[in-house]
Structure formats: structure tokens, C-alpha cells
């Protein structure tokens, strides 16, 4: 799979979301917060692109959405990984690691 730059970026957000949801169902806000916390505030998810991305992933069948109650007892939409999402997570993790290794290798030479 030869990824273009745009796809790479988009794919990365997909990967991060998938990974985050692997821990269990959560709503969009929690996903954004979790990513930010886990990356030591390095990765600040642009909230404007988070939701279209979630919707796209839902279309692809990687994640499923369900309305539920939030911690403060409000109606919120919870996302969870589907089986195909889990598979996608494995694949994208593998690709990411390969690319990451390759880039590291390139950076280490010279």
C-alpha cells in the first residue's frame, strides 16, 4: 500500500482513534482527551476533523456508535470497536511500525 501524504495523515488519526477505542467504548470528547493525555499533550486532536473522521470510520464499519449516558448523566454517543475495526487496528499498527522503522533507519544512516 503506497500511502500518499494526505492518506498518511488521515490514516494516522484513524489509527489513534482505533487504538484509543481498543480500551473500550467512549464518546468523541473522551477520545480527543484521551489521545491528548496519552501523547503527553503532544498530539492535540483537531476537534473539527475528529467527528467527520469518526463518521467515516463508522461508514467503513470499523467502529459502531450507540447512544448512552455520560458520566454526568447526559445523553452521549459512544463509539466502540467492531471486529473489522480490530482487524484494521492490527493492520494499521503493523504498517505504522514498518513505516516508523523504515523512517528511523533512514534517519540513522549517514
Amino acid at each position: 500500500m503506497t500511502a500518499t501524504k494526505a492518506e498518511l495523515l488521515q490514516g494516522t488519526l484513524d489509527l489513534l482513534i482505533l487504538k484509543t477505542l481498543n480500551a473500550g467504548p467512549m464518546h468523541g470528547y473522551a477520545i480527543a482527551q484521551r489521545i491528548q493525555q496519552r501523547s503527553d499533550d503532544v498530539l492535540v486532536v483537531e476537534e473539527g476533523s475528529l467527528y467527520p473522521c469518526l463518521y467515516r470510520m463508522e461508514e467503513k464499519g470499523w467502529i459502531a456508535a450507540e447512544w448512552g449516558k455520560s458520566d454526568n448523566n447526559r445523553r452521549a454517543k459512544y463509539y466502540s470497536l467492531t471486529r473489522s475495526g480490530r482487524k484494521q487496528l492490527e493492520e494499521e499498527t503493523a504498517i505504522w511500525e514498518r513505516v516508523h522503522r523504515a523512517i528511523t533507519l533512514v534517519l540513522q544512516t549517514v
Binding site: 464518546h27 480527543a32 476537534e47 473539527g48 461508514e59 445523553r75
Partner: protein
Amino acid sequence: MKIRITFWRWFRSLGQRRAVKREIDEELRFHIEQRMAENVAAGLSPEEAAREARKRFGNLQSVREECRDVRDASFGEATLKDLHFALRMLRKNLGFTAVAVLTLALGIGANTAIFSIVDAVLLRSLPFKEPERLVTVWERNPEHGYEANGVAAANFDDWKVQNRSFEQMALFRTPSKLDLTLGDETERVTGFAVGANLFPLLGVNPMLGRGFTSDEETPGREDVVVLSHRLWQRRFGGDPAVVGKTVSLDGRSYTVVGVMPGGFCFPGGTGVLYGDYDPAADLWMPLAVSSEERQNRGDHHWKVIAKLRPGVPLAQARSEMDAIQGQIHKSYSWYFMGTHCTVLPLREQSVGGVRTALCLLLGAVAFVLLIACANIASLLLVRAAARQKEFAVRAALGAGRGTILRQLLVESVLLAVLGGALGALLAGWSVPLLAAHVGDSIVASTPGWSEISVDGRVLAFTLVVALGTGILFGLAPAWQAAQTDMNDALKAEGRGAGTGLRGHRLRSGLVVAEVALAVMLLIGAGLLLRSFSRLQRVNPGFSPAHLLTFQLGLPEARYPRTQDRDAIVERLCERLKALPGVEFAGATTVLPLSHLAINNRTYTVVGRPPPELGQFFSADFCFITSDYLRAMQIPLRAGRSFGAGDTGESPDVCLINEALARRQFPNEDPIGKTLHLVSSHREMEIVGVMRDVKHRELDSAVMPAPMRAVFDCAIYMPYAQDIPQYRDETSMVLRTSGDPLALAGAVRAAVRELDKEQPVAKLQTMETVIRESVAQPRFRTVLLGSFGVLAVVLAAIGLYGVLAHTVAQRSREIGIRMALGARTQDVLVLVLRQGMTLVLIGIAVGLAGAFALARLLSGLLFGVTPTDPVTFTVVPLLLAAVALAACYLPARRAARVDPMTALRCE
């Protein structure tokens, strides 16, 4: 699986746009408010918190829209987008679209047309209350070879008293033709004498006035009449004050007491007269049964309709009636009567004859549609192959497999709906033509025929068929597209985007299926055609060319005595014979093949011991004038014909037909023997033997064998020696030297001169009478034949399409072959072999299928076996020839490939 999910969502989402929008808004609001809450918790003022949250979120409106777009792309608006796109694709390929839509229009149109008939005739319920509980009841005597005979009045009374199965039982009589006189206009109408409880039994009330009372069932009080809606409209202009008016029927006056609602014409079109022709009633009269008739157990001219009690199963009613009739028979075994009963559900009876033919036609049009589907699937496959790059590109740009599948299905369903719309138009235009031009006998004797129309129900059927068709033929290319590896497709660029082996196999399979279906249909059509031509070659026993016929009422009121009737008929014959162009003029009470009622009576041979108890001989009775045989050109086999000396005063004489001679006098000379007529105690001497004439049907095989023996025999008596209770409709026959119809005006004038109140009914040529008598076989033969031709044409187009495409694809290969020395005919053979292999497989499959299915036709065949070797040989050959032509065109094109061009093409 995936297609299903996508489709389901797409379908469900059609009305869900607003809900989606609300959900998105709520989700985004939750996010922002969550952020605000956190900001407040971090110490910001509510206003600042809100501002920060919004700022951080970015452009809310555009996010909202983007989310909605994601949804729309696969749901809701996708329909519109897909439709728009599909329309563009269809417009871009006008040729393809036209061929596909036209093919579908033919297929769907044919289905719609046949369904409209099936719907009106088989599916609609009868216009009576609780028709499923209605049955007709008959006397049955397997020993005498009849399954359903009318009941004798005394037997009916016993049934009525003894049975526990029926809520009600009503009597009615076979139709009478009556002269209805209004002012100075007289016309022949059809009347039925019915029991007073018939209308209540059927659950239909008069729309004006009343029905009959049991009082009016007494002889002498039956001078009341109920009009049909049609007659009321036609002759009384729908006058609401018609009740109480007086009309003249056969010279007697009757008081109109009621008008039935529109569409009610019992027993017309219900088939209750079982095998007899049952015309629509114009009016009804009370059935007055005299006290002598009430005692009669030998005269079986009464028909019975009954209504089962709720919850009584048919089998129970049958066994009860068998027991009752068995008992009656035991007590009166010296009468000619049934030993059992036949109880027939009305529905079964009314459609029995047509059902097979209609099911056959429905099956045939389904085959045509399947062939059309295969054709279009094949075309779409070719197109899908050409569009593989397009799909690959779209897939690379993010379109999912489901999106592309959906797009393809939307395209095919759109095609099908366009085809369906055109098909519905075709049907709407052709069905009324078809329904009206099948011949009067079908129109009048098939229940529901007059209601045939392309209405909402039929259109709903069309829509379902169109959608189903679209999905059916859309599946093949969609499946193929789903199988294609997009990367391969992209890489395959420049090599004519290989359709792949799979697509090719699929299309070959479709061609085989098309040819097989066409073979089956054509064999069916061939069998019907062969049996119809056999039927038409049946010798009716007379020479029908140049014969003009018409019917005369001669009502008893104006011609009370045999002599009066005889006198006017004789004068009329003389007058008609004197007309220029008329060679002979005769009268008969039985016009062959005209479906008028025929009197079948029992007789014995004088001087022989009476037949065993319970054994009876019967024959059709016919009264003819002396010139009848000459006019009809019925040859005399022995003895003499009737002459001027055979009058009402001279000794009774008769002619018998060969069948009767064979049956009664196999080894002796019948001339000079005397026959005794059981029910009228008349004796007449046999003076001659004449050739057998087909009175009832050309195809006597429609009757069960024992029945045929009963109806084969005929006795002819001089018209002047008429027996009043045997009286039937009088028909005139004229042997003409030129065009019979050219005499119509002169004939009418001649009748009017003798009796200006006497209407001339059914003035037509004998050839028309015969044509009407085979209207049903003709109808199914013509339709099945057209469907067969349509199937072959479609299959040939399909074959041509596949081969033409293969040739175009293989032009490079062919070029190389030619460059390497292949000759023109090698290439020709190569392509022909490919096509004809498919055709031969298809023919083999089709023959096997036809062999299995043909037995279903056996009931509709005459003089041909379902495995008729001629049909099974000619059809495959014919199909192979058509197929060869369809293969030859692309093959020739292949042979003309210029190697240099083909090779350079890449």
C-alpha cells in the same frame, strides 16, 4: 452480505435525513458543552469558557456539514446522486439504453398483459357473497359415462329435504333465447329462469325494485322479469322508473320488477353450465315448475347451485349427496338418472378450462422475461468490463466496494423501471385489443374476461416485476465488479481492460440459458401450433365454405303450433332460395359448432328387447328441412333424404348418422328399422344414414371417452315433424355461390317481408362459426407462438452480442493468428465453433427441459403427443439455423481483421 447491509441502510435512510441531522447536532453540542464544563472547572468564567470551547472546536458549521456529507454519501441523498449519475451514464450510451429498455419493455409488457388476464380471470373472486362456499350439484353416473348431468326436478326436491350440508339450494334452467319487443323494435336476448332463492343465495340484491317471490314460482304467475344492468342501460336508457313497466317477451307480456347491479350476469361467465356455453344473462324470470314436472325423475334439464353451510367441508357434502342420490337411484332404478352426485366448487368450475392455458402463458412470458434479463445482464457485463478502469479509479479515490455495487444496481434498476414503464404502456395499449379480439365465445364464456384491464393491481405487479428484474440482471455485473481486483484492473490499462475469464464464463452461461429457455418455449409453441393445425384440418362432416347462417326465434306466442312454424320456415326457405346467389336454403334446430344447446334424448330400437335395467341409449336430436343436407353438403351414406312427402301428417321418419348405425346396426341394414323415442312415445322409421357431423366440438377429445360415445350418435327428423318439447333454436343455412355476407341485406329483407317482428340474429358465415368454436386454442396458440418468436429473437440478439464482443476483444489474437498464416476460413470456423458450442449445449439443455415440461401441455394438445418427434426435431434445427446466422455476422467480421491494424492497435 455486504450488499445487503448497504442496501438496507440506503433504503432505511430515505426518510431519515432529519434524524441524522439532529443526531449530529446533539453529538457536537455535547462535545462543546463538555469542553465548556472543563474550562469552567479550570477557572474560566462561563462566557470565556464558551468562547474558548467554540474557538478550539473550529468552524462548527463546516464540521456539521462534513459529518452530514459522510452520511449522505452512503445513505439518503446517495439515491439522488446515484440516480443522477445513472441517468447520465444511460444518456451517454443511448444505443445501449435503447436496446435494453426496449428488450425489457417487451418482456415486462408481455408479463403485464398476461398477468392482467390472469388477475381478472383467475385471481379476482367471483362477484358473489362468500363465493368459496358456492358449489354446483349434478347427477353423476359413471356407468353411463357422465360425470355431471342436470338434475331431475323430483330428485332435486329430495335433495333439498334430505341434505344437511347446504344452507340453500337453488334451481335454474339453461338459457332461453327470447324476442324482446319494445315499441316496434325486436331483438334476441338471453333469459334465464331461476328459483326465487337464487339471488339471496348468491348474496346479490337488485339495485332497483325486488327479486322474485316464491309465489311467482307457480305456473301462470311467472309473468315478471328482472333486468340486467346492461339491458336496462341499453334498452331503457337507465330509466329509474322502469320498475312496473311492461315488456313483451316472445309475444307474452311481463312486468319488470327489478334491475340487478352492474356486472351481475349470472350464470354468464361463471361456467356453471359445465361444458355448455353459458352466456351472460340479459334478464331473469321466475322458474315455474309445474306439478307434473315436480314428479319427474327422468328429465334432467335443471341446474343446481348451492351454498355450503359454514364449516362444512366439501368432502362431507360430497359423501352426503352421494348417499342421498344412491338411495334415490335404488328406489327408482328404472329411470335414467345418476347413481351418485358431483359437487363442484364454483371457482374450480368457472376457471377449469382456461386455467391450464393461462398458467402456460404466464410461464411462457416469465421465460421471455428471463431471456430478456439474461440478455441485458450480458450487455451490462460487457459494459462493466469496459468500465472496470472507472471503477478502479473510483475505488482508489475512496469509493467502497459497496458504493460501486450500489451504483451498478441503481443503474440496472433504473433501466428496469424505464423498461417497465414502457412495458406498462405497451400492455395498456395491447390488452384491450387482445381482450376484445379473441372471439365472442371466449369473451362470453370466460368469467371475468370483461373485467380485464391494466389497473392499479396490475401496475403494482408490473412495478414489482420491474424492480425484481432490475436486481436480477444487475446482480451479474455487480458480482463481477465485486470480484475484480482493483489493482489488476488499473494495471491492465491499455490491454483492453481484460474482462477476465470469469466474466466470459458468466456470459457464456447466460447464452446457454437463453438458448435453452428459447428451445423450451419454441417447442411448447410448436406443439400447440401442430395441434391447432390438426384441429383445423378436422373434417366437420360438411363443407363450411360459402355458407351463410343465422338464427330465428319463432317464439311460441306467435307460432304456437308446429304447422305455423313449419309454414313460415318453408316459405322463408323458398324465398331465400329464390335470391340470386343462393343455391340451397335449409333450416335446422342444431347448427353444428355454434355452442347452442343440443337436445340429447334416450331412444330404443323397436322390436328389440329393452336394454337392461339402468342401460340407456341416447342421441342428439335435430330437426331439419329437406334442403338442409344439400345446403350443408352432408353426404348421404344410404337410403334417402327427406322430401316434400315428409310432412306433419305423414308417418314419422328419421335419418341416423353413421355412429348410431355402427352402434345399433353393426351387421344389418338400418333402413326400415324403427326407433322409439322414450320421452315422447313417438316411433319413426329410419329412411337413411348420413355422414357424422361434428355438432359440439371439432376436438371431440375434450370430452371424456364414455361421454363421447353418448354425444356421437345423432337422429335427424323432418322439421315438419317437430316435437314441441324438443324444440331448440332454429338456424338457417344458405349455400351461396359467391361471398355469403354479400347477401346479408337481402336475407334481412326477406325475413322482414314475411314477419316484420322477427329479428335475424347472429347473421354470419359458417366459417366464422367454426373459427369461434376454436377461439380458445387459437388464442393460446397465437400468444405462445408470438412469445416463442420473441424468445428466439432475444436469444439470437444475446448470442450475437456476446460473440461480437469476444471478437472485438480477441482481434489482436486473431491478428497474430492471421499473421502466422491462419486463413480466413480458419478464423471463421474458430468464432463459429465458439458460438455454436454454446448454442448446442443450450439446445441440449432446452430439449431435456422441454421433454420434462411438455407433459404439462398434454391436456391442450389435439392429435399430437407431448413428445411429438417432428416438433422436437424441427425446433432445434430452426434454432440452430437462427443461431448460426447470429454467429456468422461476428465471425465474418473476425475473418476480415487486418492483422497489421489489429497488432498496431495496442
